[in-house]
């Protein structure tokens, strides 16, 4: 039996989605942005898993006496999406490390300010790429 009211999972999904989205937009710290992005993606995983569930459905394994099964397909899809999510976070963190090495900060404001300083000091000077980091 399904112990939770039918719509509860969807409320969780919406809350997580909005919370994650808010963190991505509102936070200036790149790592926190990635955490928000992870939260945002995780909410979609729950959305898929919830839609595959069937009231009173058993796990999709053929057993005597069971006729109602949950759909396994959304779970499989979400396995793929989780892998994608992990890869995205990994690439994002790798970029954050490189940004930390190049700028000495992962705060958006500091990065933006030092980009502006670069623009001013290098104005009109060609080949402005002498300071790349991480190599």
């Amino acid at each position: 039996m399904n112990a939770l009211p039918g719509i509860f999972n969807y409320l969780v999904v919406v809350f997580l989605m909005m919370a994650g989205f808010y963190v991505v937009i509102a936070q200036g710290n790149l790592i926190k942005k990635l955490v928000g992005l992870g939260l945002f993606q995780a909410s979609v995983f729950i959305l898929y898993i919830t839609m595959g569930n069937l009231a009173g459905g058993a796990a999709p394994i053929v057993t005597e006496g069971v006729t109602v099964y949950s759909s396994p397909l959304p779970h499989v899809l979400i396995l793929t999406a989780i892998v994608v999510g992990v890869a995205t976070t990994a690439v994002g963190l790798a970029l954050a490390v490189r940004i930390q090495e190049a700028y000495g900060s992962v705060e958006e404001e500091v990065i933006h300010a030092s980009d502006l300083r670069d623009d001013e000091s290098l104005f009109g000077e060609p080949a402005a790429c002498d300071r790349e980091g991480g190599q």
């Binding site: 790149l30 945002f40 959305l47 009231a55 899809l77 940004i99 060609p126 402005a128």
Partner: protein, 524 residues
């Protein structure tokens, strides 16, 4: 089964498998050779596919022999085959010019990995087009996106890193929106196969779930497409990415996003739902126009030419979006045509910029001073590419704008036709800025003696420039094809059903199985 039967999947697998080979080879030149070979073989494969589709209609390929809708179906129709052709042609041409440019612009340790990431991005883009499965689109989208983030971050300027990060955040939000949209569609129909979806959506299209799914998909694809208010990632990404990457992305990535937009809005939802019952028309037309005008205006004031062309790309995407929004056969023809034409012109222009960056070391407006005399062939290509961007008769740009104006007039919306022409005039201004600096000003003293670009850059560059002129004069091929694709896409239910595999024998069982899944999902 011979190798030919496996073409729909080979064009995806070939670059996918060559990517790890590039990492193993480790030496940049060897990796370049492998990547180039794979890209040209893929191009040949795509050309063969175009022939097959022209002869025998859409090709359905069952991955691993699993019949759809259980298995993943690869499906290549006319539009798909031509998008595959243009993507693989651009990859092959851009890679031809890549070796020297990569040596100059990318750290040697990253050389081999650069080609691996390039091939992964290429494989992802091919996969998006070849697949007939909605979830597969998301997976390939992420394969290409993730490798694109890595490619952009390889630029030498440290701002490439922040540009890549910004794109990663925006791109992931876009892809997740697409995932949510696909989830909603699956919830209502119980299938992920595109043809199945198109079949079953009309029954349930009046539900809020489907409408929400449609909205999520549109915004998600809009982010990937860099549609006007969602384009913020693009100028930075294009400016700081290595020249080769910019040329490849500008010519292919956004075009594939356009393909996905057409596929979902017209192919799956159907034009009647997508543009009739949903108010997408009132969204796409104003946004397209705002994109054209505002991005052209911003482009006029740029001094970094890569950034100028990036904003010009936002404007050109505005034309495509406008064509889709106008939603008549001419409008969609214009959108499909501009998909090809814009790939040709931006491919040429960005390869030319790569050549300038290779010789001069910068692509600011100052770097172009007196370049008309020192790099005549490269500058000649930029001039012709620029004319095509403006839409001068005799170039491809003219053909698509012609159809766009026709579409607007057909709907009786002459102010839109006028605004399209205003957009062209603005293109004259920003192209002229470069031309004036290159031909009518003295060379700046610091830049030394620059000579013509290397041959390996000139060959792909002039191939694309000549294609710009050829397809501008011989419009039968491209316009006829685009019209054909547009009729199929906008033709409503009847024609789509004619292509449905459900009509073929032996798949009735598949439909029944899918329907069972559908019920299971609905009662969840």
């Amino acid at each position: 089964m011979t190798l030919i039967d496996h073409l729909p999947v080979l064009v995806v697998i070939l670059p996918l498998l060559t990517a790890p080979l590039c990492v193993l080879l480790d030496r940049p030149v060897a990796a370049w050779g492998a990547a180039l070979g794979a890209a040209w073989l893929t191009f040949v494969g795509a050309a063969l596919l175009v022939g097959q589709v022209a002869d025998g209609g859409a090709i359905s390929y069952q991955l691993g022999g699993w019949a759809p809708p259980w298995g993943i179906e690869y499906r290549v129709d006319t539009l798909g085959a031509y998008v595959l052709l243009i993507v693989s042609a651009m990859a092959a041409l851009v890679l031809l010019s890549a070796r020297e440019s990569v040596e100059r612009e990318i750290f040697r340790v990253n050389g081999a990995r650069f080609y691996a990431a390039f091939l992964l991005a290429f494989a992802g883009l091919m996969g998006i087009v070849a697949t007939g499965d909605a979830f597969n689109v998301f997976v390939f989208l992420e394969i290409s996106s993730l490798s694109t983030y890595a490619l952009i971050s390889m630029g030498r300027d440290r701002r490439a890193l922040t540009a890549a990060f910004q794109y990663l955040v925006m791109g992931t939000i876009g892809a997740t929106f697409i995932l949510i949209g696909i989830g909603f569609l699956y919830m209502m129909t119980g299938t992920l196969n595109m043809l199945d979806l198109a079949e079953r959506l009309p029954e349930v299209s009046n539900t809020r779930t489907v409408r929400a799914g449609f909205a999520f998909l549109t915004v998600g694809i809009g982010l990937k497409l860099a549609m006007f208010p969602l384009h913020l990632w693009m100028p930075n990404a294009y400016t700081y990415a290595p020249s080769v990457v910019t040329a490849f992305l500008a010519a292919t990535a956004t075009k594939v996003a356009v393909y996905v937009l057409l596929r979902f809005i017209l192919g799956i939802f159907g034009i009647e739902f997508g543009l009739g019952r949903m108010p997408l028309e009132y969204l796409l037309i104003p946004l397209g126009l705002m994109g054209i005008l505002s991005a052209s205006m911003v482009a006029i004031y740029q001094v970094e030419i890569k950034r100028l062309l990036a904003y010009s790309s936002v404007a050109q995407i505005g034309y495509i979006v406008l064509g889709v929004g106008l939603a008549n056969t001419h409008g969609i023809t214009a959108a499909v045509l501009h998909l090809f034409n814009h790939a040709l012109m931006k491919g040429a222009l960005f390869i030319a910029l790569g050549a300038v960056a290779y010789r001069i070391g910068a692509t600011t407006l100052d770097a172009f001073s007196g370049l008309g005399r020192r790099m005549p062939l490269t500058m000649g290509a930029i001039v012709i590419g620029g004319l095509s961007l403006i839409g001068v008769p005799g170039t491809v740009g003219f053909v698509s704008k012609w159809y766009l104006v026709l579409a607007a007039l057909e709907r009786g919306l002459w102010p839109i036709a006028l605004l399209v022409l205003v957009g062209s005039v603005m293109a004259v201004v920003y192209v002229w800025k470069v031309v004036e600096r290159a031909y009518f000003s003295q060379a700046s003293s610091g830049s030394g003696e620059a000579s013509e670009a290397p041959l390996m850059m000139l060959i792909p560059l002039w191939t694309l420039v000549l294609a710009n002129i050829y397809f501008g004069l011989h419009t039968d091929l491209s316009a006829g094809l685009a019209r054909q694709a547009a009729t199929v896409l906008s033709g409503g239910q009847g024609e789509r059903h004619a292509f449905a595999y459900l009509d073929s024998p032996g798949s009735a069982a598949g439909a029944a199985g899918g329907a069972g899944l559908c019920q299971a999902a609905q009662s969840a």
